[in-house]
Amino acid sequence: MSGAEDEVLSALSGALAGLAGGDRFTAAEFGRDGAVIVRVYRDEHGTPQPEEPRPETRAAALRSAAAFYRDLGPAFIVRTADALPDQLSRLLDDPPPVPVYHCRTPLKELIKAAIRTSPLVLGYELAVLTRQPDGRVELTSRPLFPVGAETGHEVSFPVRCEAAHGDGTAFAVVTREPRPDIPPRDRNLRPVQLQQAVVTPGSYQLTARLDRPGRVTFHGVPGLLDPLPGPAAALRAAWEQRRLSIPERVDRAGPVHLVCLIELSGGDERLRGRIEWLAKLISEAESTTRRLFVSVLGYGPHSVAWSVDEEPYRLAAWLSPGQVAEQALRGLVDRVAHEHEYLEAAQLECALEGLARNLPDCPGRPVLVTAGGRPPHPPGMDTETGLIPCPDRVDWAPQVDRISSLGTTFGALRDQRYRGLSWQALGRDATATVDDAVDLADFAARLGLRETARPVPFPFAG
């Protein structure tokens, strides 16, 4: 850059530094092809903005030197050519009342460069949400760049993103309305820039860099789109739309404990069917944003004869990640049925009793899904059903009550031919028959397995 340009830039910087509130300054470029007149003002964020006067104003001002200096009040003139049109030469005939710099670089470029390096006059902040102790959500801001910060200023800090609308999470640079009469935290936020990213909920280390006044670049969040283009009005509309979509409360989606109770008896084909449905259900549950624990218990019939060994219910997985539990579930196909196995009932009541005993110590909201057919053994002799009682005299109904008292939701994937009170209770929230097509998405939704958090349009302060 030549010394002349430095002189102009210095003059521009001085002018920008002195620009406050609703002030403006004007600079003019006289060149071979005519005059370029630029007025600079600060917008609501304090960002210098160049503009050209209306054509009629410009035309009127260029009619005479008196009108030019009176109406436009230029701070200085940049002359980019030795030979000027007569109209402009006349404006310089008398010694001009403002400095005239001889410089080949167009004025607009010089102004742009001066604005780029000008320090901020209002602090920039990132719009973030905070969760109040009562669960309410409040829109606030986190400082990015203080007053006086210049291009290249960087700051890094954690943010946490929750599930958002289809537009994604908005990363909005804002300033606060300069109202000294209002405490800073109560001053309105006004958008400088708005960028969006469709991100997986979670924590991110966000880095913000000041490119120039009015322009911030973010790093550390994948999938960030370019800032929303368009006029300031469009930006404000987008900002308002997102601000209004902030939920009043965001109750953090707690972990879920999906317990799969699967009957191992009834034949290989049936067992494989149950395994497939449960495996799909685990996948459905995993697709949500909350933490998922999965337990798998397999059960068959009690031995009702002395000649048949008792085979207790089998714990295949306990509080495992979904994939581990699914593998364990698929490993249950190896059961070999005893030829003298009892056909009419299964030890469901004992598996429920084991769950009722152990579930209270487990993390996560319990969701119990039972896949099977045979009813539980009754606790005693039952002349209605003729079913042989449980050898340990366990009654399924109180076990279901105990499990229910933990806030459990119940789903049943039962064989079509089996009904009865036990299956009604076990399928209280969702029931499907494995012989028919199962709408697993709906089934999972009824159990709260697909329940997503309310969309949150802004990140939380990390």
Partner: protein, 322 residues
């Protein structure tokens, strides 16, 4: 050595519908007699046969039920069983002119014959057929009858009265011209209300307070006294499908001398014995269950209830009758 030997060739006949448990009853009889001897060494009875086919059937039935826990359906391959119940009875007789009593042991052999193992001939629609006539003649010529009443069949089908009435009418006709006929059939009848271990039968007895604790039973089985067994029969008949069975005791007591009828609540396989406590469990009494093959199997050990008792009672009556 016994002092005397008597043979009652006229023997004992069995009557009962299909599925009433006649074969199972007979399959359980050997073990029942052994358990009887276990409790009272003076009561040593054995079952055997001179006929090869009947002997083989007896062995098959005994092994099937007691060793394999299976029900002795295989016995249906023959139409008649001809067994001998062999044991000793202590008898007394007047000795000398002073009226003293002399006691002696008498070896007794009684024929136990089952002519209709499947129970098909018991149905009235079999009337007039030659083989049915043979059954009628066999019953008429015997002096003791084991009458098997199946409460579950009565509940589901309710045909006990019809079957029994028809059969008794035919037997009555067969003996009516006998010079000794006094208007009633001369038989001693042991009425067996079967399947006491079945929950519905057990609960009925329980609800009627007919079950009494038996402090001497090694497994804690309850018992139904003979006098209560008739009440149980009548109650079970009342809930029969047809309702006609309610007068079954009266029917029997009309055709036979009432004092020659005794009632037993029986279970050929006995009550289920809890595997852990090795005792009777009032919440789980049934000792049979069905498996995938369709077979019905015994769940625990076979401990017959009132299986030897009606047979020995009949033998005693026949021996006393000469």
């Amino acid at each position: 050595m016994p002092d005397r030997t008597s043979r009652a060739a006229q023997g004992i006949a069995m009557l009962g519908a299909t599925g009433s448990g006649k074969s199972t009853f007979l399959g359980a009889l050997p073990i029942a007699l052994l358990r009887r001897a276990q409790q009272d060494p003076e009561q040593r009875w054995r079952l055997w046969s001179r006929d090869k086919a009947s002997r083989e059937a007896l062995i098959d039935m005994d092994i099937a039920l007691n060793s394999k826990g299976a029900f002795p359906f295989a016995t249906q391959r023959i139409d008649n069983f001809d067994w001998i119940l062999d044991g000793r009875l202590q008898r007394a007789e007047r000795a000398g002119r002073l009226g003293g009593v002399r006691r002696f042991d008498e070896r007794v052999e009684v024929t136990l014959r089952l002519t209709d193992p499947s129970g098909e001939l018991y149905r009235p629609d079999q009337m007039g057929q030659q083989i049915r006539q043979e059954l009628v003649e066999h019953v008429a010529s015997s002096r003791g009858i084991l009458y098997m009443f199946d409460p579950i069949r009565e509940y589901l089908k309710g045909d006990a009265y019809e079957n029994t009435a028809n059969m008794l009418m035919e037997v009555n006709a067969e003996v009516a011209d006998h010079p000794d006929f006094d208007g009633r059939l001369p038989h001693h009848v042991a009425v067996c209300v079967t399947k006491l271990d079945e929950p519905r039968v057990f609960r009925t007895a329980q609800s009627l307070r007919l079950l009494a604790p038996d402090p001497h039973h090694p497994l804690g089985f309850p018992l139904v006294h003979g006098s209560d067994a008739r009440t149980l029969l009548q109650s079970l008949c009342k809930v029969g499908r047809s309702g006609a069975g309610e007068v079954l005791p009266q029917l029997l007591e009309t055709y036979f001398h009432p004092e020659r009828i005794t009632y037993y609540a029986t279970s050929a396989v006995g009550f289920m014995v809890n595997r852990h406590t090795r005792r009777f469990d009032g919440q789980d009494t049934e000792n049979v269950y069905r498996v995938a093959s369709g077979e019905t199997l015994v769940r625990g050990p076979v401990n017959p209830v009132n299986v030897s008792e009606p047979v020995v009672w009949l033998v005693e009556q026949l021996a006393l009758g000469g």
